[in-house]
C-alpha cells in the first residue's frame, strides 16, 4: 500500500536549545566530484547572450559551511579557450553563515533583493528580514542557499579581460540537484542568471567518486 510522503516545504524556527547551531545534512548530489552543466545569461540591453557553464565540486566541508570547486565558461567571446575559475562557497547554514553577506559590496537590501528571486526563499523571507535567518533551522530544508565567490583564474591570466569581482547568490535543490544562481557585481549587468543541472556525464545513472584528506 502506498504511503503518503511527508512534505517539509518550510523550515522551522529552531528551538532555543539548538538555536541555529546545527550543520546541514549532507546531500549526495552536492558532494565532491559531482558535475553540473548549464548556462549563465550575460545579456545586456544591447545583446542577448548566454555562456555555457560547467561546474565541478572539489571540496565540501559542512562543519565549516564550506564548498568549493571550479567553474568553466565555454563560449566566452573574448577568450580563445574555455575559461576556468576556482570558486569558494559559503553555505547558509545559520551556524557559519547567514543570509546576510556583510561584505563584497552587498548590503542586506541587495541580499534580500537577490534571495527573493528564488521561489524557495519566500517562506524564509520574514525571518531573514529580522535576523538574517540566524534563528532558522534549515537542516531539513530541501534547498541549500549559498554564496559562491570566484577566487582565481585557473587556466588564464588575471589580465584576460574578464572579471571575477562579483559573486553568486546560489540556490541548490536537494531534490534534483539543480542549481540556480544570480551574479552580483555592482559594476556588471544585474541579475545575470546561472542555471545548472546535475549531469551524469553520459552514464545511465548516477556515479560517485571521493577522496579523503588526511
Amino acid at each position: 500500500m502506498p504511503v503518503r510522503m511527508v512534505e517539509s516545504p518550510a523550515p522551522s524556527n529552531s528551538s532555543g536549545a539548538n538555536s541555529g547551531q546545527t550543520c546541514l545534512q549532507p546531500c549526495s548530489l552536492l558532494s565532491v566530484g559531482q558535475a553540473f552543466s548549464g548556462t549563465q545569461n550575460v545579456s545586456s540591453p544591447q545583446k542577448d547572450e548566454a555562456w555555457r557553464v560547467n561546474v565541478r565540486i572539489q571540496g565540501c566541508d559542512l562543519d565549516h559551511g564550506y564548498l568549493c570547486g571550479t567553474m568553466e565558461a565555454l563560449n566566452v567571446p573574448m577568450a580563445d579557450t574555455p575559461v576556468v575559475t576556482f570558486w569558494e562557497g559559503e553555505i547558509v547554514d545559520t551556524k557559519n553563515y547567514t543570509f546576510f553577506t556583510n561584505k563584497w559590496k552587498a548590503t542586506s537590501e541587495v541580499d534580500i533583493e537577490h534571495w527573493t528571486k528564488f521561489p524557495s526563499f519566500s517562506p524564509l523571507l520574514t525571518q531573514v528580514e529580522v535576523d538574517g535567518g540566524k534563528s532558522l533551522d534549515l537542516t531539513n530544508y530541501q534547498y541549500i542557499f549559498m554564496r559562491w565567490k570566484e577566487q582565481y583564474f585557473v587556466n588564464v591570466g588575471a589580465d584576460c579581460g574578464l572579471t571575477i569581482a562579483g559573486f553568486y547568490y546560489v540556490c541548490f535543490s536537494c531534490v534534483d540537484g539543480s542549481i540556480n544562481g544570480y551574479y552580483y557585481d555592482p559594476n556588471s549587468s544585474p541579475f545575470q542568471k546561472l542555471e545548472l543541472k546535475t549531469t551524469n556525464e553520459r552514464r545511465s545513472g548516477f556515479s560517485f567518486s571521493s577522496y579523503e584528506l588526511q
Partner: protein, 659 residues
C-alpha cells in the same frame, strides 16, 4: 727548561693516591677526594677518563668504610659520586655498579644536615639519568619513604623525591598510587617553595597527571581552584623554565578534561601568549615551548582560532626562516605549525603566502634527523589540507613532490607512514592527468608499499592510491591499474584490516567513476569478474559500515553503466536463494550514509530507459526491495528520503504490478 710533570697531577697518579688512601685512609682520603672532585666537576672528558681508570669503586669504597662521624669525608664522597653521575650515563652506571646506592640512601638519615644534603644531591643526579633503577611505588614502605622526602625542608631532599617520581612514574597505576598517597598535595605545597623546588615539583606533578583524567578529576578538580591559581601565577614567574613547566601542567589538565573546565579560569589565550613568548628563548625552553604549544592547541579548533588571533602563525613562520636552526627547534616549529594548520584555512593561507615557509618545510623533508623528517611531513600534510591551494597545483612542483617521493623509500617505517599520509593529500590536485607524480615513480612505490606487511604502511599506501585515482582520465587510470594489477587489488579488498578494505574499495569506486562510456569498467569484468565478485562477497560478510558504504558505491557506479553492467550488479545483489536480499538488509541499516548508497544503487538499477529495466524492477520487487523503499518514504535522512522518492517513482513508471 721545562721539567717533567709530576705524576700526581696525571689521572694515573691521582688514581694511585686514591687507591692507597682508600686502603689506609687518614687525612689523605679527604685531600685526594677533594682534588678528584675539583678535576671532574663540569668536565665530561675527565669524568670519562677517571671512570675508565676505575676511580668510582675506590670512592665508593671510601664512603662505605668511612665512619659516620667523619662528616666532611662523607660529604666529599657523596659530592664526588654525584659529580660522576651528573650528566654522564657511564658515570651513573659506574656509581651503581660500585654499589654506591645504599650508602647514599643511608646518608639521608644522618644527623648532619650537610651530609644529608650531599647524599640527596648525589642521588638526585643518579635519578636524573634514564639509566637509574626504577623506583618501586607498589611497596608501601617505598611510598612512605618518598613522602617523607617530600615533607623535608631541605630543597635537595624534596628535589630528590620529585626527581624519583619524574624518573620512575610511568603507568596509570603508579600515577594513581602516588596521587592516592597524597603526593600531589605535597607537590602542590612545594610549588610555593624555592625556585629549584618549584621546577622539580612541577615536573613531577606533570608526570603524575599526564594523560590521566581520573587522577586529574579526583585530585586536581575544580574543588582545587587554588592549584589552578598557583599554576597560573607560575606562568608569570621570573624564570622561563618555571613558566614553561606551569604551562605544561595546565596543558595536561586541559587535554585530559573538558576545555570548558579549564576555560573557567580564563587561561586559554593567556597560555598561548606565554608559550609564544617562551618560544623566543633560543634554548631548550624555547624548543619545549613549541611542543607544549602544539599539544595545547591540537584537536581543538577553538584554541587554534585563538592561537591564530594571537598571530601565532606569523611568529612561527618568522622563527622558521631564521638561519641555522637546530634539529629540535625545526621539529618543534613544524609540529606547532602542523597543529595550528590542521583545521583552519586562514592559518594555511598565511603559511603558503609566506615567501619562504614552504621552502623550509620541504627542506625539512631531507633533514638528517628522523624526527625532523616526520614533523616536516606532518606539517606539510596539514598545510596541504587546503583544497584551494591543491586545486591551484600549489604543491605539484618538483621542489615538493620529489623529496616526498624520496621519503617513501626511507629506512624508517614511521617516516614512510608520515610521507604516505602527506602524499595522500598532495595527489588530490584535481587535474585529470597527474603527470608529475606518476612520471616521478611515485605510483610504483605506492603500489610496492601497498603490499607491506605493516598494516599502517599498507593502509596509507592504498589511501594515497585511492586519492590519486580521484577524477583522473582513463589513460592515467590505466597506467595506475597496470601497476597495481588485478589480483593484488582483490587481495586489498579482502584485507584483514577493515580500514585497508575501505580505502581499497574507495579506489575501485574512483576507478569505475567518470564520464561514460567508461573503459575502466572493464577491469571489473576481467578474469571472470573477480574484482566485482570480491566486492560482492565483502558486501555480504563485512561488518564495518564504511566498508559496506564503499562497496555499495562500487555497485552504484557499476550500475550507472550500460545493461551489461546493471545486470552484473543485479547478480551480485539479488539472489533468489537468499532468505533476504542484501539490498533489503542494508536498506534497514541505522547508518544514513549506507542507506543513501544503497538507494542510489537501486535508482541506477531502475532507470526506466534500459531494455532490461522492467525485468530488474520485477526482480527487485520480488526480493522485497520496493516494499522496503515504501517503508522509507519518511526516512529521517533527507537525502535518503529524496532518493527513495526517485527510486519509487522509477519503479512506478512500469505500472503497479505488485499483485
Amino acid at each position: 727548561m721545562p721539567g717533567s710533570a709530576s705524576t700526581t697531577h696525571r689521572p694515573e697518579g691521582l688514581i694511585d693516591r686514591l687507591r692507597s688512601a682508600a686502603a689506609d685512609g687518614g687525612e689523605a682520603k679527604f685531600k685526594v677526594l677533594r682534588e678528584l672532585k675539583n678535576q671532574i666537576i663540569g668536565n665530561r672528558t675527565k669524568k670519562l677518563s677517571y671512570i675508565k681508570l676505575g676511580a668510582v669503586p675506590s670512592v665508593v669504597s671510601i664512603l662505605s668504610s668511612a665512619s659516620s662521624s667523619v662528616d666532611c669525608l662523607l660529604i666529599q664522597c657523596a659530592a664526588t659520586i654525584g659529580s660522576f653521575a651528573c650528566g654522564v650515563d657511564a658515570g651513573v652506571k659506574a656509581v651503581l655498579d660500585a654499589g654506591a646506592f645504599p650508602h647514599l640512601i643511608n646518608l639521608l638519615s644522618h644527623s648532619n644536615e650537610k651530609v644529608v644534603d650531599a647524599g640527596a644531591r648525589a642521588l638526585k643526579m643518579i635519578y636524573q639519568s634514564p639509566s637509574a633503577p626504577k623506583y618501586d611505588f607498589t611497596q608501601p614502605k617505598n611510598i612512605e619513604f618518598l613522602t617523607s622526602l617530600l615533607d623535608k625542608t631541605n630543597e635537595n631532599v624534596t628535589g630528590l623525591g620529585a626527581t624519583i617520581i619524574t624518573h620512575s612514574c610511568q603507568t596509570p597505576t603508579e600515577q594513581t598510587l602516588l596521587s592516592n598517597a597524597g603526593v600531589l598535595k605535597k607537590l602542590i605545597h612545594l610549588l610555593h617553595a624555592t625556585s629549584p623546588q618549584r621546577d622539580a615539583s612541577l615536573e613531577s606533578f606533570a608526570t603524575i597527571i599526564k594523560q590521566n583524567p581520573h587522577v586529574i578529576t579526583n585530585h586536581v578538580g575544580p574543588q582545587n581552584g587554588s592549584t589552578f591559581r598557583t599554576l597560573l601565577d607560575l606562568t608569570k614567574d621570573r624564570y622561563p623554565r618555571t613558566r614553561l613547566l606551569a604551562c605544561v601542567c595546565l596543558t595536561l589538565i586541559k587535554n585530559a578534561t573538558s576545555s570548558a573546565y579549564v576555560e573557567s579560569v580564563g587561561m586559554r589565550t593567556k597560555l598561548i601568549l606565554v608559550l609564544l613568548e617562551l618560544v623566543e628563548d633560543g634554548g631548550q625552553v624555547g624548543d619545549e615551548a613549541l611542543f607544549t604549544l602544539s599539544r595545547f592547541i591540537e584537536d581543538d579548533e577553538g584554541l587554534q582560532k585563538l592561537a591564530f588571533e594571537a598571530n601565532t602563525v606569523d611568529k612561527l613562520c618568522q622563527q622558521m626562516v631564521k638561519e641555522s636552526l637546530q634539529g629540535k627547534r625545526l621539529e618543534g616549529l613544524f609540529t606547532a605549525l602542523g597543529s595550528i594548520c590542521s583545521n583552519l584555512e586562514s592559518c594555511r593561507s598565511i603559511v603558503l603566502q609566506s615567501p619562504k615557509a614552504l621552502t623550509v618545510i620541504t627542506e625539512g623533508l631531507t633533514h638528517t634527523t628522523t624526527e625532523v623528517r616526520i614533523a616536516a611531513c606532518i606539517c606539510l600534510k596539514n598545510v596541504s589540507r587546503s583544497v584551494k591551494y591543491l586545486s591551484a597545483g600549489h604543491f605539484m612542483t618538483e621542489a615538493v613532490i620529489m623529496p616526498v617521493i624520496q621519503l617513501l623509500y626511507d629506512a624508517s617505517t614511521s617516516v614512510q607512514v608520515a610521507a604516505l599520509c602527506t602524499v595522500s593529500n598532495l595527489v588530490v590536485d584535481f587535474r585529470t592527468h597527474k603527470s608529475l607524480f606518476v612520471q616521478s615513480g611515485g605510483v610504483k612505490q605506492l603500489v610496492e608499499l601497498s603490499k607491506s606487511m605493516e598494516s599502517s604502511v599498507r593502509l596509507n599506501a592504498v589511501w594515497a592510491l585511492r586519492n590519486l585515482m580521484f577524477l583522473i582520465d582513463n589513460r592515467c587510470k590505466e597506467e595506475i591499474f597496470m601497476d597495481i594489477k588485478l589480483f593484488p587489488l582483490t587481495r586489498l579488498i579482502s584485507d584483514s584490516n577493515a580500514c585497508v578494505q575501505e580505502q581499497a574499495l574507495g579506489l575501485v569506486c574512483n576507478l569505475v567513476n567518470g564520464p561514460g562510456p567508461m573503459d575502466s569498467m572493464m577491469y571489473l569484468f576481467t578474469e571472470d569478474g573477480i574484482l566485482l565478485n570480491t566486492v560482492g562477497r565483502e558486501l555480504r560478510k563485512a561488518s564495518r559500515t564504511q566498508v559496506l558504504v564503499q562497496a555499495m558505491y562500487v555497485m552504484c557506479n557499476v550500475a550507472s553503466g550500460k545493461e551489461l553492467e546493471k545486470e552484473a550488479v543485479m547478480r551480485q545483489l539479488v539472489n533468489e536463494e537468499d532468505a533476504q536480499s542484501i539490498i533489503v538488509s542494508l536498506l534497514q541499516s541505522e547508518v544514513a550514509s549506507l542507506r543513501t548508497a544503497v538507494v542510489w544503487t537501486v535508482v541506477n538499477l531502475t532507470v526506466p530507459t534500459g531494455a532490461g529495466a522492467l525485468a530488474r524492477v520485477v526482480k527487485l520487487r520480488n526480493a522485497g526491495v520496493v516494499s522496503q523503499l515504501k517503508n522509507m518514504v519518511n526516512d529521517p535522512c533527507l537525502d535518503v528520503k529524496l532518493r527513495v522518492r526517485t527510486a519509487l517513482g522509477q519503479t512506478m513508471t512500469f505500472g503497479d504490478f505488485s499483485t
